[in-house]
């Protein structure tokens, strides 16, 4: 077996905003977007597995998260802001080549936003643990954004992350601690992410999708009701597939990177003709 491809950290200017991303491998680009209050490290196990399968994995830190500056020193507070930023990032870093896009949680909502608004620019889009309309599953948290306004927000979001792991991973203390440490952008940037989740709704824009869409949900993830992702799949129509993963929670790329790499690779290869049509 060959050695795993190395992950290299890079910076790029996205419309003048210094943006960090991890890169691994060569081939068809795959743009990966992390969850609320987290960063590119969530994809550290997936990227080499994508590289093994002939992809160029690209995992960015969203603006205001970890090593990427916020735009104009303000956190994004809508999913559409994240989606437009990721679209620009993909245009700049992928050099005109259509990428696959994978996003998880608020990254999954971002993926749905790209499905709604820019599907023609992607080879395939994989929303994981996200919703086309995040509104019903939790309240709008804007009044908790600043530390002085809520002593609970940061620990709440940190544990909202780790407690939504699938039951096998939740029983692994080391993995729980690792994910907890990945969520240290939880206060203002993470709050902006969840403000975006709570107000996001692109359900009226899913009727003319130009690329294949694989909607992924961990069966143990309590944040994302299966009924709502199946509703989104119905709205997209024949270009959408749904995969529900047993024993997985809110973090498929962290909990089962091998299984996810295989799933994405199979989906892209099976649907490549559709994407290029």
């Amino acid at each position: 077996m060959s050695a795993a491809a190395e992950i290299v950290g890079r910076y790029v200017e996205v419309d003048g905003n210094r943006t960090f991303y991890d890169e691994c491998g060569e081939g068809t680009p795959v743009v990966c977007v992390h969850t609320a209050g987290a960063d590119s490290r969530e994809y550290q196990y997936l990227l080499p597995l994508l590289a093994e399968r002939g992809y160029r994995g690209l995992a960015l830190d969203l603006p205001g998260h970890s090593r990427s500056y916020p735009v104009d020193w303000e956190p994004h507070r809508t999913i559409n802001q994240h989606a437009e930023y990721v679209h620009r990032f993909a245009q700049i870093v992928c050099g005109g080549e259509k990428p696959v896009m994978i996003g998880c949680s608020i990254g999954g909502c971002t993926a749905f936003d790209l499905v709604a608004n820019h599907s023609e620019d992607f080879l395939a889009i994989v929303p994981m643990e996200g919703l086309a309309a995040g509104t019903p599953i939790l309240p709008f948290p804007g009044e908790l954004e600043r530390p002085a306004w809520s002593t609970a927000w940061k620990p709440f979001l940190e544990f909202a992350a780790v407690e939504s792991l699938g039951k096998p991973t939740l029983a692994d203390d080391a993995k729980v601690k690792e994910l907890w440490w990945q969520h240290q952008n939880a206060q203002q940037a993470g709050n902006g992410d969840i403000q975006g989740w709570a107000t996001h709704d692109v359900t009226d824009k899913l009727g003319d999708v130009r690329c294949p869409v694989l909607i992924v949900k961990g069966a143990d993830d309590f944040w994302v009701p299966e009924s709502l992702i199946r509703y989104a799949a119905e709205l997209i129509g024949e270009r959408a597939e749904v995969a529900v993963l047993p024993d997985i929670g809110h973090y498929p790329m962290f909990e089962d990177p091998e299984g996810l790499a295989e799933l994405v690779d199979s989906f892209v290869k099976a649907n490549a003709e559709v994407a290029h049509a």
Binding site: P136, I137, P139, T151, A152, W153, F159, L170, F222
Partner: protein
């Protein structure tokens, strides 16, 4: 066994005393937490990381904050069926249709376990409360407290 029985209280406080993370998180808290288990209550005094007393009633000076829910909600926490975060979070996540979700209040549907009272104190005690709730709920399940 009922949650107000001395044997239950002893088991609960023993479980809590064995949790170093609770002690660390609650180190600078001086207040009281009222636990509501269905119609039953248990008042817990916490000082410098330790639960030092319990009462089966609310004393005249009240409590700092309250954590309450149905017997079923506590049992779901104690058995591991649901997590603390899931149970204390508002929102409609277990309903099948958009009509049901909207009728239930959408993102503002009340949580299974409600935190009420001094929100600033409850907020800084969020992780300690999670550990206390787990110890209480696991003791409920292990002790066979009837619903």
């Amino acid at each position: 066994m009922q949650i107000q029985d001395q044997e239950f209280r002893d088991r609960f406080l023993e479980a809590l005393a064995a949790d170093p993370e609770f002690e660390a998180e609650a180190r600078w808290f001086d207040g009281s937490i009222l636990l509501g288990y269905g119609d039953q209550i248990l008042w817990v005094k916490v000082y410098r990381g330790k639960a030092i007393d319990t009462l089966e009633f609310v004393p005249v000076f009240g409590y700092t904050f309250k954590l309450s829910g149905s017997e079923h909600a506590w049992e779901m926490l104690g058995s591991g069926e649901r997590t603390f975060t899931d149970l204390v979070s508002s929102g409609s996540r277990y309903l099948e249709t958009m009509e049901e979700i909207e009728a239930a209040g959408g993102g503002y549907r009340p949580p299974e376990l409600a935190i009420e009272g001094n929100g600033v104190e409850a907020g800084r005690m969020h992780i300690a409360t999670m550990h206390l709730a787990r110890a209480f709920a696991r003791t409920v399940v292990a002790s066979g407290v009837p619903a």
